[in-house]
């Protein structure tokens, strides 16, 4: 337990075990609000905040809660953090809060959060739990923003529209018209089918990259000379 591999936690959260692309958890908000970058970023940050908070709290009480009642306890913790986040958004980004609507309270039911609480935070000390929360949250956030970006770009021809909802007035003119002002928009990308199509394509791209990496590794292993095998008598042959 003392040997915690932070590098592996990071790789797991961002790539190998990415909540959006590999675990396919939290698809409901992922598909429902990823219409624009600002919506994705807002929900992604909120989810990340709840994830970190609940991971810390679960890690702190992990020795005090018995196995039988652990899930209700975790859910109560997550609900508390979700309410905090909701109130924060209500106070500081009210318009975005209204746009995201039901999906902010629904963070409670996001499987990523309960999954990390049960699978990781309840078995690890506080620092690894924080790192795991940040990395899993970041992985989810990146996937959300990627989907939101692609959908906004294809659906409306813009990027970073309405960013002032999240970052205040100085972000008002971040909007970029990528295809010029005359782009008519390809509505299917903004509608629900677009979310499924874009998510499917992202998963496909990730699988292609993984299989390329795997192939290269296999090729490298095949190239290593085998002569040393004969003389080695102890230890593991890599």
């Amino acid at each position: 337990m003392s040997q915690v591999n932070y590098r592996e936690i990071t790789i797991n959260g961002l790539w190998k075990n990415n909540p959006g692309l590999v675990q396919l958890l939290g698809l409901c908000p992922l598909l429902a609000v990823s219409g624009t970058v600002v919506n994705s970023l807002g929900l992604g940050l909120a989810t990340m905040l709840v994830l970190c908070g609940s991971n810390v709290a679960v890690s702190l009480i992990r020795n005090a809660v018995s196995d039988a009642v652990r899930l209700p306890a975790f859910v109560m913790i997550i609900a508390a953090f979700t309410t905090c986040t909701e109130l924060l958004m209500q106070a500081f980004t009210y318009e975005l809060y209204q746009i995201l609507g039901i999906f902010i309270p629904l963070i409670v039911t996001n499987c990523v959060i309960l999954g990390r609480a049960d699978a990781f935070a309840s078995k690890n000390s506080i620092v690894p739990a924080i790192v795991d929360g940040v990395m899993m949250g970041l992985g989810f956030l990146l996937v959300l923003v990627a989907i939101g970006g692609v959908r906004e770009l294809i659906g409306g021809g813009t990027l970073f529209a309405n960013m002032h909802l999240l970052f205040g007035e100085f972000a008002r003119n971040w909007e970029i018209h990528v295809f010029g002002e005359n782009y008519r928009g390809f509505l299917v990308a903004v509608l629900p089918p677009g979310a499924f199509l874009v998510t499917g394509l992202l998963i496909a791209i990730k699988n292609i990259i993984d299989s390329r990496i795997e192939k290269r590794r296999a090729a490298q292993q095949a190239q290593t000379p085998k002569a040393s095998r004969r003389v080695r008598t102890t230890g593991q042959i890599a």
Partner: protein, 353 residues
């Protein structure tokens, strides 16, 4: 003397994939001719453009998937998809509408799901629905039929049509509401009033000028395919019957609330194109005889429901896609009786009973 031992079946069907597809292509010719006669060369351009693009996209995606390109191109299935989509699109729609539609039909709906025989949804209808929800403006501008044109107007020539499609040069008197839209938005008129006042109905006979003959032409093509035994009668007849029965029930004697007569529903919009060329798709429809009856009837019901109470004037594409979803489910509950058994196997029965 050596006898070659061949196992059954001993009679070989002459139906090959490319043969069937060629028959279907042949059977669309009357419909295409009627569309051209009543709406001008727009549909011809659509179909030609769609075919060229479909062959290109099909070859490209086959090459990407590392499949034999010529082998699959020769089965003509891409051309059938292209022709059906080209017929369904409004004449004189911009060229990029066709490009997007064919891309979604061939690349997304067909090949991303595994190619011919593996696609759960009818590719042409997927392309059509993607276009309809993405570009509502372009997709609801139908051409005015020849008989309903104002005095002094004529159908656009091939040069004007090409200029409209590729350069966006507007055509005079080009767009008008279809017969279905006119009926849906008649604002409290009785059917008889509408038939005498609206130009599209006044110049027509049963279901709006042009549309009735286009649908009859598709019906003729469908009957030819039935005669050639390309498909069985069950699904199309079930669809048309269900549509007709509902239309009778809600005809309301042609009052201001009427949903239109059965003849109107049979001969307007994409009814006949859908019934004989889309519903009969062997890949995406139900398989058994009973299943096809249910599948076709459900499409007929959905078409009527969406046409009458939905937001979209025509509904064949949506109805077909919804029932494509349901086709495996229908198959699950309509397994036919196998030879030698007295009862059909119940797929719901528990194992070991």
């Amino acid at each position: 003397m050596a006898f070659i031992r061949v196992s059954s079946p001993h009679t070989r069907s002459a139906n090959t994939t490319s043969g069937v597809m060629a028959q279907v292509l042949l059977a669309t010719i009357p419909g295409l001719a009627a569309l051209t006669a009543f709406f001008g060369p727009g549909s011809l351009i659509n179909v030609a453009l769609a075919c060229a693009l479909a062959v290109g996209f099909e070859a490209g995606i086959l090459w990407l998937r590392k499949r034999p390109v010529m082998f699959y191109l020769r089965d003509l299935s891409a051309l059938v998809t292209a022709v059906l989509l080209g017929l369904a699109l409004p004449p004189y729609c911009p060229w990029w509408v066709v490009v997007v539609g064919i891309f979604f039909a061939i690349v997304v709906a067909k090949h991303l799901y595994g190619g011919l025989g593996y696609n759960p949804f009818n590719p042409a209808m997927v392309g059509y629905v993607v276009l309809l929800i993405s570009f509502p403006l372009e997709m609801t501008q139908w051409a005015t039929p020849a008989g309903a044109l104002a005095d002094g107007q004529s159908l656009p020539g091939i040069g004007d049509a090409l200029a409209k499609v590729f350069a966006g040069v507007p055509l005079d008197g080009y767009a008008s509401a279809t017969a279905l839209e006119t009926l849906q938005q008649r604002g409290g008129q009785t059917v008889a009033d509408l038939y005498s006042s609206a130009p599209i109905f006044a110049s027509g006979r049963w279901a709006g000028n042009g549309w009735e003959w286009v649908n009859l032409a598709f019906l003729a093509g469908g009957v030819y395919l039935l005669y050639k035994k390309v498909f069985t009668w069950h699904a199309p007849v079930a669809m048309l019957t269900a549509l007709g029965v509902l239309a009778i029930l809600f005809y309301d004697n042609g009052s201001s609330n009427s949903a239109g007569s059965p003849v109107f529903h049979w001969l307007s919009g994409a009814t006949m194109l859908g019934a004989f060329f889309i519903v009969t798709d062997p890949v995406t429809s139900a398989v058994s005889t009973k299943g096809r009856l249910i599948y076709g009837a459900a499409i007929g019901v959905l078409v009527f429901v969406i046409r009458t109470w939905g937001n979209y004037p025509d509904a064949v594409a949506f109805a077909v896609l919804l029932m494509n979803f349901a086709a495996p489910f229908i198959d699950y509950y309509t397994v036919p009786r196998t030879y030698g058994h007295s009862k059909a196997p119940r797929s719901t029965a528990k194992r070991g009973k």
